[in-house]
């Protein structure tokens, strides 16, 4: 009986294919949009999640100054309070801390031969390699001897190598920063884009002591990067660092910290969270177009019922009950919605693949969303088909047969 009803419905829709298609269009676009939007959101989340993994979930960063967001600490020398001594103490004295590296950073022009390239120059300690999980593609990282002697050695990121040396081997080449010659001792492995969108391979690393003495002539450091013993001991490490620094900086109990400790995975999680919000928002907006598609179905079905009043009368005269008529029209609406759903899924998958290929946006189709979108379109079909179907079933056969 179901099969027969389905056949009747398909036959009725087939009589006016163009109209059926135009009616379905709302659902097609709605479902397609939902799937594409959520795929974009999921792709963003997945990218961020993999970047959290590459950052290391047990990494902390210590910055000088107050913890107010973006606020600049003014007053008694707040910006210069971190030293490499602090970093050493943190690493050696605190049980929850594994490694610590002081860091400095400044954008510099790097010259090689007759080429130059502006890049982020970072002064680092050997520990940074492990803390930030930097691979070495060629040569070696900075080691303690380099730091002790403030050696003029450098590691280049992949982008810098490409810009200044092309396909040539940069090891043992001389580059100049502020006209000071540095010997290239290593090349960093590739890391790609950070979660903030910057190119992590566009960098040069030198010993922090060299940066302090020869490039900047300062004795403090910009930040201290710390890795905790394990991810779940991060809060503990944070507390220990706070206590130690307050003591080293002689901060009285009634005064605020002159530093800020940031948990890198918090930042990444926040970014992931906002990507999630974006995905949900986009998905909701797209769902609205699904509802509009449903209204389109209801509209056309109402017209269809009116047009087929005579036909309904004939069916009733030969024995169709109210529920037979209602079922017939409900199935028509459902078939339109379901077909629209399938086409919409195809459209959504195709769009997100196109975005992936051409715009290099990361996208990720989750089968859950596909199933939900399909079921939702079916529900829309039933819901919006219900009223017209009910109207059809409630027709009086005598009046219907008289209808011109």
């Amino acid at each position: 009986m179901w099969f027969m009803t389905l056949r009747i419905a398909l036959r009725a829709l087939g009589r006016n294919k163009l109209r059926a298609f135009l009616t379905m269009l709302g659902i097609i676009i709605g479902v397609g949009a939902v799937i594409a939007m959520v795929a974009i959101g999921e792709g963003a989340k997945a990218t961020i999640r993999s970047q959290i993994a590459s950052l290391g979930t047990n990494v902390l960063i210590i910055l000088p100054g107050f913890s107010t967001q973006g606020g600049v600490r003014t007053g008694s020398g707040g910006v210069n309070t971190l030293t490499d001594g602090d970093a050493k103490a943190i690493m050696q004295e605190l049980p929850a801390v594994a490694l610590a590296s002081p860091t400095l950073r400044r954008n510099e022009q790097v010259v090689a031969g007759n080429l130059n390239w502006g890049t982020l120059t970072q002064g680092v300690a050997p520990e940074l390699q492990q803390i930030r999980d930097w691979q070495i593609a060629q040569g070696r990282f900075i080691h303690d001897g380099d730091v002790d002697s403030a050696a003029k050695v450098a590691l280049l990121g992949q982008t810098v190598v490409h810009q200044l040396f092309g396909n040539d081997d940069p090891i043992d080449a001389i580059i100049r920063i502020r006209n000071i010659p540095f010997r290239v001792v290593g090349v960093l492995g590739a890391k790609g884009q950070s979660s903030q969108g910057t190119d992590q391979d566009d960098t040069v690393m030198i010993p922090y002591s060299t940066m302090q003495k020869r490039l900047m002539r300062i004795t403090h450091v910009h930040t201290i990067v710390v890795s905790a013993v394990s991810a779940d001991r991060v809060p503990e490490a944070q507390d220990q660092i706070t206590a130690l620094l307050r003591q080293r900086h002689r901060i009285g109990p009634d005064r605020d910290d002159d530093f800020t400790i940031r948990n890198l995975s918090d930042i990444a999680a926040a970014a992931s969270g906002s990507a999630q919000v974006m995905a949900v928002l986009l998905g909701s907006v797209a769902s609205i177009s699904l509802l509009v598609g449903g209204i389109g179905i209801m509209n056309i079905m109402l017209v269809s019922v009116t047009e087929r009043t005579r036909e309904i009368g004939i069916r009733m005269a030969v024995g169709a009950r109210g529920r037979d008529i209602m079922l017939q029209f409900l199935v028509e609406a459902l078939v339109m919605a379901a077909t629209g759903g399938i086409l919409g899924i195809l459209l959504g998958v195709a769009s997100s693949n196109i975005l992936n290929q051409w715009a290099a946006w990361p996208t990720h189709i989750s089968p859950d969303i596909v199933a939900i979108a399909f079921l939702f379109s079916g529900a829309v079909g039933i819901f919006f088909g219900f009223y017209p179907a009910k109207k059809a079933a409630a027709l009086d056969p005598i009046e219907a047969l008289r209808y011109e």
Binding site: M1, I314, R315, A317, L401
Partner: protein
Amino acid sequence: MSEVIRVEDLYKTYRMGDFEVPALRGINLRIEGGEFVAVMGSSGSGKSTFMNIIGCLDHPTSGKYFLESKEVGSLRPDEWAQIRNRRIGFVFQGFNLLARTTALENVELPLMYNGFTGKKRHERAVEVLSLVGLEARRDHTPTQLSGGQQQRVAIARALVNGPSLVLADEPTGNLDSTTSHEIMELFQRLNSEQNITIVLVTHESDIAEFASRRVVFRDGVVMSDEKTR
């Protein structure tokens, strides 16, 4: 012969706003199985209202209607639908076939609502199409059939569930005189060979001649009721 239709004291009044329009004013009538009855009367005489009631399309305001000795005047719409499906066949002036649907599928329609599937449905439909002489045209749609052929398909549809009663509302109204006579001869044949009770509304005397009994309505009552052969 058992009775097919019996109405007792049938009244039907329509309410139009503040007005009450008495369409039937106390009809008492009995039709036996195998009869061929012509129902006549001018418009407003109540004959259409009468046909709607005995066709289980409308309920009487008061009075009783017995179809094959069962009281059906006050049944629910779903029960009526079943009666219309199995016990009554309709033939209309305008044929009322489904457009863009083949003759075979049109005839199959009542079978579908009776739960018949696939092969059985097909076979039964072909059987009644042969009865009206149109088996060869089973795959034609209404636009590919003449008026007379369409009406014959409609008659086949009316017979497909094996009803004991066929109600025809001006079945020859849209046909020329030759075709009209062909259709009426078909009705006669079905009546005499298959013993199907036929109640047929017409306003043409020569069409009414084909029947064996003539009932004339006027102003909501039966004015005359005579056997004509």
